[in-house]
Symmetry: C2
């Protein structure tokens, strides 16, 4: 498989962790979002939407959207499972995963934060506050749903990682990279730390990616 | 099953159409978002996140997040299928569904549009322009992906409705309700019109819901 991504992309992180957990090592191709490579004809031919990730498994066309790709990996490489077996439990895991995917991350992707800062002419401080506001609201929702449900275990659902943990971990990293305070969400933070003990999660950390700026690699 | 929703909610629309297509008639409970009923203790006990829809199938806890609920319905009531059989095709349908779910709709939900209008003090015109901008970008992406792929048929994927059509139809209705011009996206519009010929889609239209303001019911 060939994965088009970018070191800082939260959606790429999700797909990479899912592949790591399933023991799949893709060929990597970096699309430098900071340089606008996603808008060049070469990448537009891969994904006309000009966003990452995109995954080729065979001839194509590319698979897109991180959750659609994770479901594809789950269907084609079922072991180890990243969703529980019971439909009701699967619905819970997917619902937890969708809080980062459909509520938090869409408000902090580059095109939106740039629009707030530049197109709306609100400036950098407003952009920072914008991200903090939506990250805080979303992580508070996750915290409530996790802390109040006996199905929460070492991970979001029981004692093995699922889609929900992948999305939670990616969102906490994104929050930390945007200088958001995650300490008010102790269950979220505990699960994030549990995830980071697994090489599948920690080796995919943006800071550790070969295409990340070298100065970042020294962080904790 | 018991469905908590609101006539204008795009996410509720998705679940309702999926249930209609599968021949499931839920007991309905309206949560009046305009009056803030979602924040009252009664509904918080159903869904601590204070958003709709929420679905009870048996004792609970409630299922939340429209896509997670649709996947649950697909797993527990497989006929008629709302996803194709081949994993690659399923990935395409889910990716198309995720454009409304994770890219367009999150930027136009009440809490975000109210934040733009009131908290950022940008006013009504900026809120309208905000919605138009993101709806336009998202529908343009859908149009490109649909028009450029031979797997597009009468519906988004072949000749039977899937998750992708449900999300497309809900998003077009949402765009129309926000006075966005959808005519630049002919494939999107054609598929929307095809969907609306099915009672499963048209009977779930916000205007036709019993909890909608009566003045709306007369529209086309």
């Amino acid at each position: 498989m060939k994965l088009y991504g970018y070191w800082r992309s939260q959606a790429t992180y999700r797909v990479r962790v899912a592949m790591n957990l399933k023991g799949i090592t893709p060929e990597d191709e970096t699309i430098d979002l900071a340089k606008g490579v996603q808008f060049q004809p070469g990448y537009r031919a891969v994904n006309p939407q000009s966003v990452v990730p995109a995954l080729f498994d065979g001839p194509g066309p590319a698979l897109t959207q991180s959750l659609a790709i994770m479901e594809y990996l789950e269907e084609t490489h079922p072991k180890p499972p990243l969703l529980p077996r019971d439909p009701r439990d699967r619905a819970r895991v997917r619902a937890l995963a969708l809080i980062p995917i459909a509520e938090i991350h869409p408000l902090m992707v580059p095109r939106v934060r740039n629009y707030v800062e530049n197109d709306l002419k609100l400036g950098e401080a407003a952009r920072v506050e914008w991200i903090r506001h939506w990250v805080g609201l979303g992580l508070a929702a996750l915290e409530t749903l996790l802390a109040g449900d006996p199905r929460t275990g070492r991970y979001c659902h029981g004692d093995a990682p699922t889609f929900a943990d992948i999305c939670l971990a990616g969102q906490v990293i994104g929050a930390q990279n945007s200088d958001c305070d995650v300490t008010p969400y102790p269950t979220v933070l505990r699960i994030h730390e549990t995830c980071m003990k697994l090489d599948a999660f920690s080796s995919a950390h943006p800071r550790k990616r070969p295409d990340a700026p070298k100065a970042l690699a020294k962080g904790p």
